[in-house]
């Protein structure tokens, strides 16, 4: 095994009295595709939000590429990271949101090019060329000039994926990216993600309720409950042969709800 790209080291997170993550630790290898599953409120989305620095942690350490995310060395000690440190660390990470979070006042193309132009100093022409390549890949090239309000949910999410890819992050976080979509639009987004998984060596962390997709897509599955990892392993083991009672109960419920796993 090579050095992990993400090391999560006994992190805890509380919202008031509610402990969302409890001394959680795990590591992710470069290029690994990880699915985070579990009942709602189990803390899986919170982990993605913490990695994207949208939330802070109450205690513990996170290292990306061996470098502290929320801390930085100063005079031989670790101190809380400043904005500049966070800015540098964030450049390695991209995120796709459940509700797309596109910029409604900008067309699809401008949504994709804004960040590369502003944060990487890419020229407008180069940014647009790269954006068109990405939009082509997610099947949105013909919608480059459309405004987000004119798109279906699936189109919005594919545009949002292109937007996140434009910054060429090494780690991509997908937070329930199909949960807000009409059932018939889910597949077009999953297809894009399948393609990404096959064609890139990005590390991908995926919070999802699409169990059959998680099964096919992930190298490893983490089952969460109440802020802890209850069980982890290859998809076949978790989905076909779960060892823990809570995992079994969760999957039984999912199957009862009509999903194939």
């Amino acid at each position: 095994m090579s050095a992990p790209i993400i090391e999560i080291d006994r992190i805890s997170k509380s919202f008031g009295a509610l402990r969302v993550l409890d001394e959680l630790s795990f590591t992710v290898q470069p290029g690994e595709k990880l699915a985070l599953i579990g009942p709602s409120g189990s803390g899986k989305t919170t982990i993605l939000r913490i990695l994207m620095t949208l939330e802070t942690i109450s205690s513990g350490h996170i290292r990306i590429d061996g470098e502290e995310l929320f801390h930085m060395p100063k005079d031989g000690r670790l101190v809380p990271a400043d904005e500049r440190h966070l800015h540098r660390m964030r450049s390695k990470i991209g995120m796709v949101f459940q509700l797309f979070n596109l910029f409604p006042h900008k067309c699809v193309l401008d949504n994709v090019t804004l960040a590369p132009i502003l944060t990487k100093g890419v020229s407008k022409a180069d940014a647009e060329r790269e954006a068109m390549r990405l939009l082509e890949m997610v099947g949105m090239a013909d919608k480059a000039r459309a405004m987000p309000a004119e798109l279906s949910g699936g189109q919005k999410q594919r545009a949002a994926i292109a937007r996140a890819l434009a910054l060429q992050p090494r780690i991509m976080l997908f937070d329930e990216v199909t949960s807000a979509l009409d059932p018939e639009l889910v597949e077009e987004v999953l297809n894009v993600m399948r393609r990404l998984g096959e064609e890139t060596d990005m590390t991908m962390l995926l919070v999802t309720h699409e169990m059959s997709f998680a099964h096919d897509f992930a190298d490893r599955v983490l089952f969460f409950d109440r802020g802890r990892i209850v069980e982890e392993g290859p998809p076949d083991q978790i989905f076909r042969n779960p060892k823990q009672e809570r995992t079994q109960a969760f999957l039984k419920k999912i199957i009862a709800a009509g999903q194939r796993v």
Partner: protein
């Protein structure tokens, strides 16, 4: 009839002064509104406090008193302003205080998820504000800005009290010289209304242009 055309001339000159006061006053108000409105959202306590003090002071005291301060008291402190400058300053700062609250409210009404998208795309706070938040917030500010601009236009009448020859001042002159109240005041009534309508239509047109393609943005 000759006599009346001379008086109309006077009133039109007044209209020009009123228009000048309105345009320059609005320009100052707009700048001040953004500075103070964003100041209220600053992370620095001192900036927030200064912005709040400005807003509360100018909203909480009369425009009439503010104008007299600008024209009669500032010279005692070594700052002499022409009546026009004093008028622009008082009107701009007064209306700017109301505008600041409009700016703050509109910026805060842009959803949290837009800020989160900015962080995920690694934009700095300023880039996020400049390219993502303000363009969306500005559309929300426009209708109230239109109201504020009309309030400012009507407020310009107080400058006649520091002998600035605006529309109202000229109407008084004409009234004093002709003894007729009806004609000059009917004229300026119409002129004020026309100017307010220009602002109204202008702002509405701008709003339409900026919201094109944004259907459903506020939902």
């Amino acid at each position: 009839m000759d006599q009346w055309s001379g008086y109309m001339q006077l009133i039109l000159q007044g209209a020009l002064t009123t228009a000048q006061l309105t345009v320059l006053g609005c320009a100052l108000a707009l700048v001040v509104a953004f500075i103070a409105g964003l100041g209220r959202l600053s992370r620095s306590f001192l900036v927030r406090a200064a912005a709040t003090a400005y807003i509360e002071f100018f909203r909480g005291t009369s425009i009439f008193v503010q104008l007299f301060w600008a024209y009669f008291v500032l010279p005692l402190l070594g700052i002499s302003l022409t009546p026009l400058q004093a008028g622009i300053l008082a009107l701009g700062l007064n209306v700017g205080a109301y505008g600041a609250e409009v700016v703050r409210g509109a910026v805060q009404s842009v959803g949290r998820e837009q800020y989160e998208a900015c962080i995920a795309l690694n934009l700095t706070r300023w880039q996020c504000l400049r390219h993502v938040i303000l363009p969306q917030a500005f559309v929300l500010m426009l209708p109230t800005f239109g109201n504020n601009a009309i309030e400012l236009l009507k407020g310009t009448a107080v400058v006649s009290l520091i002998s600035l020859a605006d529309l109202t001042f000229q109407a008084q002159v004409v009234r004093a010289q002709t003894g007729s109240t009806m004609v000059p005041f009917l004229t300026i009534l119409v002129l004020y209304f026309v100017m307010a309508s220009v602002i109204s239509f202008g702002v509405r047109g701008l709003e339409r242009r900026l919201t094109r393609g944004l259907d459903g943005m506020r939902s």
